[in-house]
Structure formats: structure tokens, C-alpha cells
Symmetry: C3
Subunit: 288 residues, 3 copies
């Protein structure tokens, strides 16, 4: 879907959906997971170092978003308007975007080495599940859920991208709000479902990994791949320059996700606070 929008030159729609997906995973999905998981429990614990590695990925991504924006502001160009469709930036900003995209992809690759090889035990706490029995079924069940939800999401996304203009015009929502909130909620339905399911079974390691990990994956893998792809697909390259709302929202959300995950335990109230922050961001986007 993102590639389709890229081909059509709708850079701002692509960027809004990237930001929306990051906000959706680290505020909405994590918030609902902590809230549902912590409902009848005093506290829930999760592996601190896995969460920290992924939160750091998000901080790296924040630096990668903020510095090109400062570049553009110092050059006197101004950030793109949220109602624009696509903005062409000077060639040095495009070169900077490519360089930053390569750094992000390299860091993502190193993160795979970290999570799959050198510190795989942090991300795969299978000893936990051995104690309960029946976990092969649980894994198969979760894979089936994931596959089912994924198929549903793909189908819904396809509909969405075709009807995005009509739907938003009909209900009176701005295209920006639809891209950054509505599309993101639908697009993260699979992660959402699975993360909340595991949170309610007190498997917060898996929940937090899904929520923060999905956000990190979008920021360090999907976003740079789209930047590089934009040199081949579409009318002109996409630069990593986001508008003021997107920058402020991602920056604040990442700082807050770091604060929430860094103690390795959570309560329902922290989940509710994440949802309140998502609500404030959503309200602001609604009035854009």
C-alpha cells in the first residue's frame, strides 16, 4: 500500500501513515496491552533489556527524523504543510535522506544480529512457557491468529487506500487525520490483537516486543526502504522531512515509551496514560 502511494507521488500520505503506525504501536497497542494486562494484577514484569534495545532503536529513529527537519528549517525552507500532497526538497536534503536511510538499515541489521544471535534468549523466553505446558498449541494458535488478522488487514488496507479520499470527504475527516490515525489503527489491527492477547495472559515480554518492536521495525526498516525505493518508483525522491505535527508527536511518544519501558514492569495506569497521550495527539490531528 505504501509503495502504491509512493508510485502515485503521495509522499505526505506515506509519511503520515509511517508516523501513524509508529504512534499506533507504541501508544495505542502498548497502552491497551498494559491496561488490559494490568487490570486484575498489581504489576506485570517484562524483560528489561529487550525492551531497552528496541526503545533505543526508536530514539535513533527520532534523531533521524529531527536532524533533517532542523536542516530544512535552518536553510529557511519551512517544514511541509500537513495538507500538502508531496514536497520536492533540494538535492542535498535528498542525499542526506539516503545517507540516514542507510545508517538506519545498518542499525536494523545489527539489531537482528542482537535479537536473533547474540542475545536471542532475551527475545525468546521459551523457558517461561515450558512451565505451563500446551505451548505448541499456543504458538500455532497465535500464528493462525496472526495470519488471519494479516489477511483481513491486507484486504481492508486495499479498500482503504482506494477509498481514502471519498471516505474522508464523506465523514468530513481531513486526509491527514485519516492517514495518521484511521489507517494506522486498521493497519496495526494484527499486532494489536496479538499483543493484547498475550498481555491478558501475563506474557508481557511478547506484548512489549510486539508493540515496541513493530514501531522500531517501521522506523528503522520500512521508512528507509521507502526512501530508497522512492528513487526508483514515483515522480521524484521522498526526503525524510516530516511536518511539525508528525515530528512533535513522534518525539514525545518515543520519549514517553522509553520512560514506560525502562523499569521492566508496568501497571494498568501506565497503559491508560499512554492512551490519554494518544487521545491528545488524535484530538490535535483532528483539528488540523
Amino acid at each position: 500500500m505504501a509503495l502504491f502511494a509512493l508510485g502515485a507521488g503521495l509522499h505526505e500520505v506515506v509519511e503520515a501513515s509511517l508516523v501513524g503506525s509508529i504512534l499506533g504501536t507504541i501508544l495505542l497497542v502498548l497502552g491497551v496491552s498494559l491496561l488490559v494486562g494490568g487490570r486484575k494484577r498489581d504489576r506485570q514484569r517484562f524483560e528489561l533489556r529487550a525492551a531497552t534495545a528496541q526503545s533505543l532503536m526508536l530514539l535513533l529513529a527520532t534523531v533521524a527524523l529531527v536532524m533533517p527537519a532542523i536542516f530544512q528549517l535552518v536553510a529557511g525552507g519551512g517544514l511541509p504543510d500537513p495538507t500538502a500532497k508531496a514536497v520536492a526538497f533540494p538535492s542535498n536534503l535528498q542525499a542526506l535522506s539516503v545517507g540516514v536511510a542507510v545508517v538506519l538499515l545498518a542499525s536494523y541489521g545489527a539489531g537482528l544480529v542482537f535479537s536473533l544471535k547474540t542475545h536471542a534468549q532475551l527475545f525468546n523466553p521459551s523457558h517461561d512457557e515450558d512451565e505451563h505446558g500446551g505451548e505448541p498449541w499456543s504458538v500455532r494458535k497465535s500464528v493462525l491468529m496472526l495470519a488471519g488478522a494479516g489477511a483481513a488487514v491486507g484486504w481492508m488496507s486495499e479498500i482503504l487506500v482506494h477509498s481514502i479520499t471519498e471516505a474522508s470527504a464523506a465523514i468530513g475527516l481531513s486526509p491527514f487525520f485519516v492517514g495518521v490515525i484511521v489507517v494506522a489503527i486498521v493497519g496495526n489491527a494484527a499486532e494489536h490483537w496479538v499483543a493484547v492477547y498475550f498481555a491478558s495472559r501475563d506474557k508481557m515480554d511478547i506484548s512489549v516486543n510486539i508493540a515496541i518492536g513493530s514501531g522500531a521495525q517501521i522506523a528503522l526498516f520500512v521508512a528507509p526502504v521507502l526512501v530508497l525505493a522512492s528513487f526508483v518508483i514515483g515522480p521524484f525522491p521522498m526526503a525524510l522531512v516530516f511536518n511539525g505535527f508528525e515530528l512533535g508527536a513522534v518525539f514525545l511518544a518515543v520519549i514517553i515509551a522509553n520512560e514506560v519501558t525502562q523499569r521492566g514492569e508496568s501497571t494498568w495506569y501506565e497503559g491508560l496514560q499512554l492512551l490519554a497521550i494518544y487521545a491528545v495527539l488524535g484530538l490535535t490531528f483532528y483539528f488540523v
Copy 2:
């Protein structure tokens, strides 16, 4: 006092005193408490999760301050001047402020459920005091201190608000400095006194709760109530749009308060650092 200023249409004075109260509690009151409490001790410990819940409230409040400001900046309106008395904002910014105020109040209400019901034991470490004996007297004493200081503060505030213009003109202080620093120090005298008293007795749980909790209460309860009240009282509604100094100061102070409270222990040097930060902010405000 805030309602009085609201009735007179002095929105900027109200906002300065809100920001000043938040800065005063989380930098000055907390700083003096950590400094005095840590003077003859290697370290002081406090309940981590109670402090975290309240620090998160402050982060939510920061989002609620920053997003409307971005809204105003992207719309090309510019932030209010620190020397202005009141600024009228477009109606969509007022609607946004009301929506954000409702979210903040809802989160504050949920925080009461958290601190009084589901996790009351974190905020009421009475088992600690049982060990020492004599705590009924201590509670009564602290209530009396609080009542006495509160009465004194109310009387002083009344004087202050009437003489704010003359006093600042006489000493050569700008109204902004008086509102954000002088009024806040006087207004927080009660919290200040009690927090330092408990810190010196190594009851950091109570001290940190008073300091961070007061800041959170102002941000999540007093501020949104004033926004909603401004639709009834005063010439025109007050929007949640603060000036650049207020935004920068609250944002940095909240980030730093989070860093200080998140380990559940403190030293005198951390208190001194908070005071140094308060001094830098005060100096900046002095030259406005």
C-alpha cells in the same frame, strides 16, 4: 486567585502562574527536599512506582501543552508574547483546548482510582511509620502545619494579586518574572515546608509524592478546570497555548524530574542540580 485573574481576562498571568507552580514544585520543592534530606545521608530511597505514575502524569501534561503550540505555530500564528496580557485564539484552537482539558481531567480521575484504590499501598506506606511510633502525633502535626501554612499562603496570595503590578514596577521586575517565579514560590510555601520537613526525617516517599504530586495536580486538574471555567468567567475563553519560555521550561523540567525520580533513590547532589536548573530558568525569566 487564578479565578480572579481569569475574570479580569489576564490569561497570560494565569498561564504564567500555572507554569510557575509546576516548575516550583518539581524543581524547587523537590530540589530543596533532596538536598536537605540527603545532606547527612549517603542516599535516600523512595517508592519507585508511585513516583513513576506521577511523573507520567507530568509527561502527559507536557504533550497537552506542546501539541496545541505546534498547532498554533503550523497555522502561522506565532506563540503569545511573554509581555502580553491575554491573546484570543481561533475557535478550532479553543475547541482543541477543551478536548485536551477533558482528557487531562479523565486521566486525573483515573489517577485517583490508581492512588486511592487499586494501588493505595504504594502511596500510603503506613507500615513504615509503625516502626517508629508516635506517628499519630506526626500526622496531626503535619496537618496543623499544612493548615497554618495554607492560611498564611491564602492571605499572602490575596495581597500579592492586588499588589502584583505595583510591586513589580517598584522593584523593577517584569510582570512575567513575578508571575512565574515570585508568585509560584509564595504559592507553594505550604508544600515546600511540608516536603522539606519529611525529607529531613528521611520519609522521601511523602516528600516526592508532595513535590511531583502537586506538580501533576496543577497540570492535570487545576489547568484544565481553568480552561473550562474560562468559557463561563471572563471576556473570552483561555486556550492551552503557552509562550516559548513556558513551553521550553516545562518540557525540560518534566524530562529532568523523570530522570531524577525513576531510580527510586536520590543523593544531595541531585537536589542541588534541580536547584541549579531552577536558577537557570529564573535567570532567563528575569531578563525577559
Copy 3:
């Protein structure tokens, strides 16, 4: 070298090298140390409270950089251009800079009391080394290394400052990039060498102290001394107003260094993330 540039009125060069040194120590030196130290180890531990005290110093320094910038922006003056040589600011901004410099120096002095007197045991974990034996040699060796590297650095710096314009013109690098990246890497060679050496021997306490401590020393001691010295040396006083790139980079780097050091343990991946962030900043500076 900084005093030389100050005498020549090259304020922006001085400020770029200050920012470059802070970024170099807390991102590059710390990053390489964590990466090399964590290469063959699951995790490395270090004393949390020593690192926290120094990270807080960096946060104080950030406040001291950001507030004068807000002052300048609200006054409508605009931040200095990265290609400027020196900018004269209004006298109230100079007075503010002096006041902030005095607060920073006072906080640095209190930090010495903290690290040398009241909490010296945190910064001098000699009990650790007793277990290994042979530590007198190790200390002598490290002092010799430090002296040798220091002499080499002094000599190289002298060459650098004389040839900075020619070199940058010849290779096509902008003076800003040379000041903020090249000079800083050379200037921190000594700290770099020693920090990585101790990290590889799993003495992370010393490594983290060198990296974060050097950054804090530059921010709270070197920078304010240069501001005060600029009233005696050079054509006109230097204000603490940095350009947008410097502000954004220091702010983000300090936040991230805080996140990395606050758990008291590290992995190789965190080191690599710090290097990735340094790479993104370097790329941005390259295109300025």
C-alpha cells in the same frame, strides 16, 4: 586552542568545538567503549549513581543551552547561521550568559565535592582492582598512555587550528563540519583510547566515567570559563547562543546518553546505536 580562537573572535568555531567535544565523548567515545567492551560479553555492569550524577550535569547543561536560544528566538533575533564566524548579541543576552555560566561553574564545583568527598567511593571503585593484582602497573600504564596521547593531541591540535581553513578548503569540507566533527575526534583521542582500553578489560565504571564525565566537564567547566574569558579576551563577549544544529544534536545526544546509562548495565548493541546516532549527526553536519 579554544582561547586562541576566542582571541581571534571566532566564536562560532569555539562553540562548534565545544558541541563537537560533548557529542564526541557521549556518543563516539561511549559508543566505541560499549561496543568493544560488550563484544564477547553478555552484558557489562557499571556503578549507576556515578553515571547518573554526570548525566544530570549534562541535562543541566542542556537547559543552559536551550533557554538562551529560546530567549533569542522569542526576541525575534534568530539563531546564528552555521556558516557565520561570530555574532554579537544584545547586552541582556550577554548578561544572561554570564549568569548561566556562574550557575554552571557552581554546579561543577559542587560536583567535585560530590565525586571527591561525600560520594568518592562511587567514583573510585578501588576494591574492584584489588581482586586482580597488578593494578599499580595498570594505573602507571594508563597514566603513561594518557600523557603520551595528551602530548600527541596537543601537537596535533596546534597543527589543526593553524591549518583548519586550508585543510577544509582542500578536502572540500565545510569549516563547521571540521570544527564539530574532525577537531572533536582528534581532540578526544586521549579520552577515547583510555575509555576503550578499560572497557575491553570490563572496567566499565572507569570507561563510563571518562566518557560521560568528559562531556560534563566540557559543558559545566570549559564552556562557562570560555564565556567569562570572552569578556577579557577577544573583540566582543561570546554569548551562550548556539545554532540550531548544535542545539538539536546536544539535546538529543544528552537525552539518549541518559537512557543508556540509567540502568547501570550495557550491551554491545547499545554501543552500536550510539555510533549510529553519531553517524546521523555527522551526515547532517556534512551537508550543512
